[in-house]
Symmetry: C2
C-alpha cells in the first residue's frame, strides 16, 4: 500500500467543475488501495485577485496581513475538494498549513519551512481518510499564517512527501510534462520522459514551470516528482536523482536536455570602472539592500586597465536598479551607465555537458548561423546562457533546439 502525495495547481482548479474533476482523480488514486495526500493551490486567478484587493486598501500591504489574506485562496480550494470527495462517498478531510504541521519562520510572503510535524496528517491517513492540504501556507510558532512564496504549493507537496516518506509525489498541472523547450517558441519541443534534479533546477530558474525551491528541496531529500497533466492521462515527466540517469545518459544522442528561455529581461552595464578590489561589492551591495534581484553578471577587463560590469535584472526592476547603479557608478568614478530593456535569455541545460568541451562553441555557431547577436554570456557547470535581443528569442531557441537535436531524442 503506497503513500502518494498529489499536488494540483490553480489551473487545474479554475471552477466547480474542475474541482469535481480533481476530486475524481484523487479518489482514483485511492481506489488502488493507496493512501493519498492531495495538496491544492488556490482556484484559478484567486491569488492575483486577492493581491489586487489588498492593493486597494494599502499601497504596500503589511506582509503578515497579506499572508492571512492570500492563505484564504488555498483554504477555499482544499475545503471544496474535500467536500467534493465526501459528496462522492470518500472519507476526506481538509487541513490548513498549521494543521498539516508545516512550521515556518516569520518571513511573511516568502517563509522557509523550519520543520514539518506530520502527526495530524498521519492520524487522518491511519483513519483511512484522504487528506487534502492547503498548499502555499504554513504557520509560525505563534500560529500566525505564513505563505511560502509564489508557486510554493509545489514546495508544500514535496516537503510533505519527504517528511511522510511518500512513495510518489505527483504534481498535476495544465501541461503534460517538462519540455525540451517552450512549445510556444519552439514547435518541435518534445516532452521529456525524465530529467535530473539539477537540470530541472536550471530549466526552472530559466523559464520552465516548476517552483525552483521545490526542486531544490526534492533534490536534497531525494523525492522523485512526476509532473503530469490533470486534464489528460499520460506518463508526464519524472524529475529524479541524476544517479539513476547515469546509465541512460550514455544511450541518448546528446547531453543537452533542454532549452530554457526567459523574456522580460533588462541589462545594465557600468562602463569604465577602475580595475581594483572591492569595485563589484560596492556596486552590488546597494542593489541587494534595495531588494533588487540580479541575475546574470558579467565582468570583463578592458585593455586600458578599466573594466566593464554588466548584469541583468527583471525588466520591471530596471528603473530602480538603474538609479541605484548610477549612484554607485558616480561614487566609483565610472565612465557611464548604459541599459537595454528589450532582452531575453536563452540557455542550454544538461548534466551531460559537465567537463565536456565544445558546447559553448556549438551554441555560438548555432546562434551566429541564425543571425542572432549575443549580448552577454554566462555559464554554470550544466548550463550555458546567452542574453539576446527579445525580438530574436524564438529564433535563438529554435536554432539551439535544432543544433542539439532535441527533437530527435527519446
Amino acid at each position: 500500500m503506497a503513500l502518494v502525495v498529489q499536488k494540483y495547481g490553480g489551473s487545474s482548479l479554475v471552477d466547480a467543475a474542475a474541482v469535481l474533476r480533481v476530486a475524481e482523480r484523487v479518489a482514483e488514486a485511492q481506489r488502488g488501495g493507496d493512501r493519498v495526500v492531495a495538496v491544492v493551490s488556490a482556484m484559478g486567478k484567486t491569488t492575483d485577485d486577492l493581491i489586487a484587493l489588498a492593493h486597494r486598501v494599502s499601497e504596500e500591504p503589511d506582509p503578515r496581513e497579506l499572508d492571512v489574506l492570500l492563505s484564504t485562496g488555498e483554504l477555499q480550494s482544499c475545503a471544496l475538494v474535500a467536500m467534493a470527495l465526501r459528496a462522492h462517498g470518500r472519507d476526506a478531510v481538509s487541513l490548513n498549513g498549521a494543521q498539516a504541521g508545516i512550521r515556518t519562520d516569520t518571513r511573511y510572503g516568502n517563509a522557509r519551512i523550519a520543520v514539518i510535524e506530520p502527526e495530524r496528517v498521519t492520524r487522518e491517513l491511519t483513519r483511512g481518510r484522504i487528506v487534502v492540504v492547503a498548499g502555499f501556507q504554513g504557520s509560525t510558532e505563534e500560529m500566525d499564517v505564513t505563505t511560502l512564496g509564489r508557486g510554493a504549493s509545489d514546495l508544500s507537496a514535496v516537503a510533505l512527501a519527504a517528511r511522510l516518506g511518500a512513495d510518489r509525489c505527483d504534481v498535476y498541472t495544465d501541461v503534460d510534462g517538462i519540455y525540451t523547450a517552450d512549445p510556444n517558441l519552439v514547435p518541435e519541443a518534445r516532452r521529456l520522459s525524465e530529467i535530473g534534479f539539477e537540470e530541472m533546477l536550471e530549466m526552472a530558474s530559466h523559464g520552465a514551470k516548476m517552483n525552483p525551491r521545490s526542486v531544490e528541496f526534492a533534490m536534497v531529500y531525494n523525492v522523485p516528482i512526476r509532473v503530469a497533466s490533470s486534464l489528460v492521462d499520460g506518463p508526464g515527466t519524472l524529475i529524479h536523482q541524476e544517479a539513476n540517469m547515469q546509465k541512460e545518459i550514455g544511450e541518448i544522442r546528446d547531453r543537452v536536455r533542454g532549452i530554457a528561455t526567459e523574456a522580460d529581461v533588462a541589462m545594465i552595464a557600468v562602463q569604465g570602472l577602475e580595475d581594483r578590489p572591492g569595485i563589484a561589492a560596492h556596486l552590488f551591495e546597494p542593489l541587494a539592500d534595495s531588494d533588487l534581484s540580479v541575475d546574470v553578471i558579467v565582468q570583463n577587463a578592458g585593455a586600458d586597465g578599466f573594466s566593464n560590469i554588466g548584469f541583468t535584472v527583471a525588466r520591471k526592476d530596471l528603473g530602480r536598479a538603474r538609479g541605484v547603479a548610477e549612484t554607485a557608478a558616480r561614487e566609483l568614478g565610472a565612465r557611464g551607465v548604459v541599459s537595454n530593456d528589450r532582452l531575453a535569455k536563452v540557455s542550454i541545460v544538461g548534466t551531460g555537458m559537465q567537463n565536456e568541451p565544445g558546447y559553448a562553441s556549438r551554441v555560438f555557431r548555432a546562434l551566429a548561423d541564425a543571425g542572432v547577436n549575443i549580448e552577454m554570456v554566462s555559464t554554470s557547470e550544466i548550463r550555458i546562457t546567452c542574453v539576446v535581443s527579445e525580438a530574436q528569442l524564438g529564433e535563438a531557441a529554435r536554432a539551439l533546439h535544432a543544433a542539439f537535436e532535441l527533437d530527435q531524442q527519446g
Copy 2:
C-alpha cells in the same frame, strides 16, 4: 483607558473603500486612548457566494468542510482591515477565531462557544496594538475551524467583550439603531435610545436585526451593546440590563417598546386530534428529528373532545414540515392537515406589559379596527404575537404602532 470591542457587519464592509472607512472608525476609537478590539464579518455577500460555490461541488456540503470554506470570508476582511489600519500608521494585527481563543464544540455550522482563552488578544492589546478578530468563527480542541451560525459575528464580539471585561461593545451596521418597528412597514417608526435585553430578544427573534444568541449571551454576562451606524455618526441604541431602565419606565408613556414583524411564515394545522397525553410529543418529535424549527405553537381543545394543533414554520420549510406532519397525523388518527403559506407575524414587545392586563385586548381591537384578521395568537411575558395574512402585515404593524403611541415616545 477603556477597552472597547467594536463589531462591523458585512454591509459595512462591501468593498475596499468601505474597508478603509471602517479602519478610519476603528483608528478613531483608539485615538482617544482606548484599547480596541474590532470584530469583523465577511465582506458584503461573500458568505452567500461561498455557500453557492459549495453547492456547485456538493448537493449537501459536508458541514466541517463548509465551515472551513465559509470562515475564509472573515479571514479576508480581518486581514484587509488590519492592512488598512497599518497603512494609516496604526499598529494592528488580525487574529482568526482560533488565535482569538474562541474554543467551541464540534457542531459545525452552528457551534457553541465552550470557552474563550483571551491570552493572545490580551498580549496584543498590551503591546498597544489594535486587534482585528475574524468574527463568526471559532475552533475545536483539535484546531478544526467551526462557525457559530448565520449572523454570529455579533456573538463573537459580545463573547469577547464579556471575557475581556470590555467597557463597551459597539455593534456597527447599516442602520442607526433599533427601531420601534420596521421603517419599511411603518414610516412613523422611531429609533429607540435604549432597550432592555429581554425586549431586544423578543424583537430580535421576531424580525429586528440582531443575532438572538448574541443578545442572550449579552444578557447572561451583562454586556451592554450599542447598535449604531457605521456610515453616519449617531448615538444608536443602547441594549442593556432591564434594571437600569426601571426608573425610566415610569416616565415613558407606554410600556410597549416596539413592534416586531416577520414575513415568510407558513402555518400547518393538524385537525381533529384525540385529546390525550403524548399527542403533541408524537407530532413534534419527528419535526425536531428532521431539523425543522417550529415557532408559534397553538393548541386548543374542541368542544367535541378533539383538539387542533397549529404551528408556524419558515415558509421554505413548509413542504418538508407538511410531509412530516401528515405522517404523524395518520399515525395519530387525526382528521386532517391544512396549511397556509402566505402568513406573517406581528408582535408587540415590552417588559412593561408584564402582569399588566389589557394589552391583548388593545392589540385585538387595533387589528380589528384595521380590518386585519388574526389567524393565531401566542404570548410570552413581554410579548404578544399575532399571526396574520402576509398581505396585511404592513397595516397590522402600523395599526399597532399607532395604538401604542410608539411614534410619540421620547
